[in-house]
């Protein structure tokens, strides 16, 4: 600080920073990206380790014997499901009761704001069935949840069968200290949302559900099971939840530890772990795994039924059985033993899972990158914004050499601040329109254009987005020299705060937005070539970022798509985003439309200042 309190040296430092501003920014950007790519390099990451004492040192035995019987129950369930044409409520109630559980049902209904074309549903009505295994001599204060969705078609029958098998086996054990809730939810996430809202008696999304009759206290952890084949080659762990929330890393560690112990192949993001980290292909494999996690987290969607638990501070993950063409197969008994082991360890928990990390990225199931390692990557990008802001600030406050110009500047600065207000308001109104119009105007759009409701919503969104570019953002009353600088200073700081907050909550989203928006913020002035810059600006706008992300994601999943398919996917992603917001309270759509897009419009405005 002595450096700054010496005016001479301060001046020298500031001159240095302003003179070298552009190279420093470029270096920071490169360094940020390089840092991020380095995160996947195995020597730079940490091995996962169990932090929770209660789960680490205690030994449990897995004895679940009844995999075959569970499969038979699954087939029976499938038959009843076919017969009932949906959830076989009565059969499930009877079966769970026969296993000695307290059984309850919950009805729910929800009308979507517009039809969901991916899952073909609009007016959703369903029933959740759950049975509570009461722990002996426990006062109903803590519970664990095991859930399996009742999916349409032939999916997930084995999961329900295994759930019922485990319920029967668990019921006969004496060691439970927490109630265990076995939940079969209909209409996947909607049913889960209804159940969780009913359990916690909140209503954040305006869904209709009947109140729950039985509860087990505060839920400590939950696992969601998806299993569609009798044997699996590997089990995939899904962690990404609503708004990019992740469960405590110890839950992933627990899964990994039991997979190692029992000898089950385990994957994350559907990718097996490789040992050749020092080869190029090994490194790119790790990068792919990590990038998949980043993309999924940035989307803010729940990537499994577990995703909605995280809002209630319940550590949850989904376990998906994958059956590929590999030779090595795992039978249901083994999966049952794995789950039994996990539940016994969770049952041993004295406190909620809190010892390990909540913010992490996983380049493989055995390695993780903690928040302390990945934040510098974002910090380097954010530093660019502060460098630019400092530069602008110096330009605005630098005492101009001729005294009469200085006087003019003092006069100009007050309208300059006011003139910022107009573009700010206009861009935010556009953002609000982008947020509100698509759903409210779908009816009008459907009447006047030959499109379906879903298309109407998506196309309205795109129309509003594009229209925002054409709006006059500036009243141009004060043709000031420094006006755009004030506006840019405000916009840059706004972006810095916005991205900083986003990255704290959802690093992936913040980082991806920073990757595209920071260059814009850095280079845009009214004096750059208009057409080329406008093209670059549109190219790096949030919507285009989303479009590229769709292609990139498909590429990462090794199912590349043509442009036509990609465009259709892009449209459906927009509609899914809006649906996620209204159904589950995902915050990505409002964040983009109400904050990020207006911020981007400010830069668009700066480009066309004159």
């Amino acid at each position: 600080m002595g450096l700054l309190s010496d005016p001479n040296r301060r001046r020298a430092l500031i001159t240095l920073l302003t003179r070298l501003n552009a190279p420093i920014c470029v270096v920071c950007y490169m360094a940020g990206v390089a840092w991020f790519m380095g995160l996947a390099f195995e020597p730079f990451t940490l091995r996962t380790y169990m932090s929770e004492n209660a789960m680490g040192s205690t030994m449990v035995e897995e004895r679940f014997p009844a995999g075959e019987r569970a499969l038979a129950t699954g087939r029976e369930f499938a038959a009843h499901k076919r017969k009932a044409g949906g959830m076989p409520v009565d059969w499930l109630v009877k079966t769970l009761q026969a296993r000695g559980l307290e059984v309850f049902t919950q009805r729910f209904s929800r009308t979507l704001p517009f039809p969901d074309e991916n899952k073909e549903r609009y007016m959703v009505k369903g029933t959740n069935v759950y049975g509570i295994l009461r722990a002996p001599r426990a006062p109903r204060t803590e519970a664990l949840v095991l859930s399996a969705p009742c999916s349409p078609g032939e999916n997930n029958n084995q999961a329900v069968g295994l759930l019922l098998g485990l319920a029967q086996y668990f019921r006969n054990q004496i060691y439970w200290a927490k109630d265990i809730i076995f939940l079969v939810n209909e209409h996947d996430l909607i049913g889960m949302q209804a159940w969780l809202e009913g359990y916690h008696h909140t209503n954040t999304t305006g869904m209709d559900w009947s109140p729950l009759q039985g509860r087990g206290g505060s839920i400590q952890a939950a696992l969601s099971l998806e299993l569609s084949s009798d044997v699996v080659t590997s089990l995939d762990l899904v962690l990404e939840g609503l708004n990019g929330q992740l469960p405590n890393l110890d839950l992933a560690n627990l899964f990994y530890a039991f997979c190692q112990k029992i000898g089950v192949l385990c994957t994350i993001q559907g990718k097996l772990q490789r040992n050749d980290w020092d080869s190029v292909s090994g490194y790119s494999h790790a990068v792919q795994t990590m990038m998949l996690m980043v993309m999924k987290q940035a989307s803010g969607r729940p990537w499994g039924d577990h995703g909605l638990f995280l809002r209630y501070h319940i550590e949850a993950a989904s376990i998906k059985g994958i059956n590929s063409f590999r030779q090595y197969k795992t039978d249901t008994t083994t999966i049952g033993r794995l789950l039994e082991g996990m539940y016994r360890k969770l049952n041993n928990l004295l406190e909620r899972l809190h010892q390990s990390y909540f913010f992490y990225l996983m380049p493989s199931l055995s390695h993780f990158v903690s928040i302390g390692y990945y934040m510098p990557a974002f910090g380097l990008l954010a530093a660019i914004l502060f460098m630019r802001a400092l530069d602008l600030w110096v330009q605005l406050t630098a005492p101009p050499l001729p005294p009469e110009e200085g006087a003019a500047h003092v006069k100009q600065s007050s309208p300059g601040v006011l003139s910022v207000l107009t573009p700010l308001v206009i861009s935010h109104v556009t953002g609000a329109a982008l947020y509100a119009l698509p759903i409210h105007f779908q009816q009008v759009a459907v009447e006047h254009f030959p499109v379906s409701e879903t298309e109407a919503v998506v196309l309205t969104a795109i129309a509003v987005y594009t229209a925002g570019l054409a709006l006059p953002h500036n009243t141009h009353r004060y043709k000031t020299l420094h006006g755009w600088r004030v506006l840019k200073l405000v916009a840059v700081l706004y972006l810095a705060v916005l991205l900083g907050c986003t990255a704290l909550i959802n690093f992936s989203l913040g980082f991806i937005l920073a990757l595209t928006l920071v260059p814009i913020a850095a280079f845009v002035t009214p004096h750059v070539p208009k057409v080329l810059s406008a093209f670059v600006l549109v190219f790096l706008s949030p919507a285009c970022t989303l479009l590229f992300s769709v292609f990139f994601f498909q590429e990462l999943q090794e199912v590349p798509v043509s442009f036509q398919e990609g465009w259709m996917l892009f449209l459906s992603v927009i509609s899914q985003g809006i649906l996620d917001h209204s159904l589950y309270g995902s915050l990505v759509y409002p964040l983009i439309s109400l904050l990020v897009y207006p911020c981007w419009l400010l830069f668009w405005n700066i480009l066309f200042w004159n």
Binding site: M1, L4, S5, D6, P7, N8, R10, G100, E102, R134, P136, R137, A138, P139, R140, T141, E142, R171, N172, Q173, I174, H200, H201, T202, R215, G217, S218, R311, Y312, H313, L350, E351, R352, H354, Q355
Partner: protein, 635 residues
């Protein structure tokens, strides 16, 4: 051996006849409910002397099928049948009457579980209060007697429970208790410093029962105004002398059972207490042990007062877990022991088995009792009678189990709604499942101070209509001093659910106030719902009659209703918790940031920096002085 066994009956008969004379003298003044099943030979000896009232009472309580025991069996084992009442009577002092009864009720529950409830009652006609020091103890445990006299206790109720009574599956328990430890005490109105006495008492009880009762302090003690009335005789109902506290977190285990068993006159050496093998008692779905001390009437006219010590132990065994699907039980299966004899000090020692649901069982003795608004049939096994044990000298009951559905008239549940660590809402649901009668209930809620209740958000709704409580007693909390106390009288409409909701804010504690496991959460004790529930059958209001112990704890005033108390589940609430994993680092880092960062930033922002002229050299200064003297401007 043979010679002794021939010799002892003769001796015992003489002893018996002597001692019975003494008993008759004693009973002439205050007839205690005597053993209804004296063996045949003693009855023959004392047909005129035995008080008539006792016989009548027996008839009232055993109206159906009072089967006479066959004389052949009695003749076969006269030696075993005679001693128990004899020894009891002979050692009873002439001035202070003591009486000990033991009882076990076994009830197959509707969920397929088995409920076993032990009750031990010691009655002692003495007075701890009137200044004179009671120093001679026989059946009554000395440790408790001293507690009563030292702390001027009028009533003391303490329970330790592991597990939650599932009213929906199991119906009503004979004696309800909340999970964890519960203690409520009425002090005599002579006590001046009630809080101080309470503090000492909890510490003493903590030692007696090996429990964490010393954690009871002013932050979890309340004075309910209406929910806990004295159960014994006495007319002081000023709740200044009442203290009530629960410790929902208390874990109950064998270390609490052992001191509890030691209070019994026979310990666990003889009588029903033989069955209490802790390994089995804690291999169950529910375990609750309790001690109740209260003054009761010593005679029907209530002229004399006696102290009653009632020790109860309730266990629910899960037959699903242990039985491998087979629905049958026996004493041996449940307790891994069989009974060999009654406690020699006990005047009665009986086992009641609820056979209302399987009436085809033929048993030696049947009894009907009205329990909790329901007429139940019990088969009675008298352990003081040798015939019960048969020729095997051991006793092992076995009965099959039948299933039907159950609708308890009143039950309650509670949960925390909402998410996040700032606010929340407590929901208490009370179900009245009576088809046509509404009845009032008293709800007692004691909430720790760190949940700051917003009382203006209190709502009571039944059938989606506002249900205004007719009485509300609310005592706001004081941080770190006392908890919230909320009592209200609510009328529950028939066949309805009444929901009481109140919002709260979670306080941020001081960092030393967190428990060692802060992420486990903080407990909020059970709500207590006390109610007079309309009964379908007429309740028996005569308190002094010799009813079975399990049906005679709560005094009933009217015939049309009975008293029950329902406890909700305790709550586990998470409070905002700092990261305790590295407090030292956090403190150091914070201090550094504040000191270095804030200090210098503040310095930079508030001061104006200027370039300072380098100070002139000595020669220059001298030159300037000279120039000043000369009147020339300085260099």
């Amino acid at each position: 051996m043979a010679a002794r066994s021939y010799c002892s009956p003769a001796l015992l008969v003489i002893l018996c006849s002597l001692s019975l004379l003494i008993v008759i003298h004693a009973q002439a003044t205050t007839p205690t409910p005597s053993s209804p099943n004296l063996s045949a030979d003693t009855k023959a000896e004392t047909p005129k002397a035995a008080p008539g009232t006792a016989v009548e009472q027996d008839k009232q309580w055993e109206p159906t099928d009072l089967k006479e025991t066959t004389p052949e069996k009695d003749a076969a084992v006269p030696a075993e049948s005679a001693p128990p009442p004899g020894t009891t009577a002979s050692s009873t002092g002439p001035h202070q009457k003591e009486d000990f009864q033991e009882e076990l009720v076994i009830r197959p529950l509707h969920s397929g579980d088995i409920y076993a409830s032990f009750q031990f009652r010691t009655l002692w006609e003495t007075d701890f209060m009137k200044g004179k020091k009671v120093s001679h103890y026989r059946l009554f445990p000395k440790s408790l007697g001293q507690v009563i006299s030292k702390f001027s206790v009028r009533e003391l109720h303490i329970s330790f429970t592991q597990g939650y009574w599932r009213t929906m599956q199991w119906g009503q328990p004979f004696l309800p208790a909340p999970p964890g430890a519960e203690l409520w005490v009425w002090f005599q109105d002579t006590v001046t410093d009630v809080d101080g006495t309470w503090k000492e008492l909890t510490n003493v009880l903590s030692g007696i029962f090996c429990a964490s009762l010393n954690f009871i302090d002013s932050t979890n003690t309340v004075q309910p105004s209406a929910s806990f009335k004295p159960l014994g005789i006495g007319n002081v109902t000023d709740h200044r002398f009442l203290r009530y506290a629960t410790l929902p977190r208390e874990i109950v285990c064998t270390e609490n059972l052992t001191p509890w068993k030691k209070l019994l006159p026979c310990g666990s050496k003889a009588g029903l207490a033989v069955l209490m093998k802790s390994e089995k008692l804690f291999h169950s779905s529910f375990h609750s042990e309790a001690v109740h001390i209260r003054p009761v009437c010593g005679d029907p006219q209530c002229k004399a007062m006696s102290w009653e010590l009632r020790q109860t132990l309730d266990v629910v065994f899960d037959l699903h877990t242990s039985g491998q699907g087979k629905r049958e039980w026996s004493l041996f299966k449940m307790f891994a022991r069989t009974l060999t004899d009654a406690c020699p000090l006990a005047s009665t020692s009986k086992i009641y088995v609820d056979i209302t649901d399987n009436p085809e069982v033929s048993t030696p003795l049947l009894s009907q009792a009205v329990v909790l608004g329901d007429r139940r049939t019990f088969s009675v096994y008298d352990l003081t009678q040798a015939s019960t044990f048969g020729t095997m000298r051991t006793f092992n009951l076995q009965i099959k189990w039948k299933r039907d559905m159950l609708r308890p008239l009143l039950h309650a549940e509670r949960y925390v709604a909402g998410y996040g660590l700032q606010t929340g809402e407590i929901h208490t649901l009370m179900y009245n499942q009576h088809p046509y009668r509404s009845f009032p209930v008293l709800l007692l809620d004691s909430v720790p101070w760190y949940l700051r209740l917003y009382v203006h958000t209190l709502t009571v709704t039944s059938k989606s209509k506002d249900n205004k409580p007719s009485y509300i007693h609310y005592q706001p909390s004081k941080d770190r001093i006392r908890p919230h106390l909320l009592e209200m009288l609510v009328q529950l409409p028939p066949n309805s659910v009444t929901e009481v909701t109140v919002q709260f804010e979670r306080a941020l504690l001081k960092w030393t106030e967190y428990t060692p496991d802060p992420n486990h959460g903080f407990y909020v004790g059970s709500s207590v719902v006390s109610a007079l529930v309309p009964s379908i059958v007429a309740m028996d209001t005569n308190n002094t009659q010799g009813r079975p112990l399990f049906s005679s704890f709560f005094p009933t005033k009217e015939e049309s209703s009975f008293f029950i108390r329902v406890y909700t589940e305790p709550l586990l609430v998470n409070l905002p918790t700092p990261d305790f994993s590295m407090p030292y680092n956090v403190i150091c880092l914070t201090c550094t940031v504040v000191a270095v960062g804030y200090g210098s930033l503040y310095n930079l922002l508030t001061r104006n920096f200027q370039i300072e002229e380098p100070s002139p050299g000595l020669a220059k200064r001298i030159a300037n002085v000279i120039r000043k003297m000369r009147g020339v401007p300085p260099l």
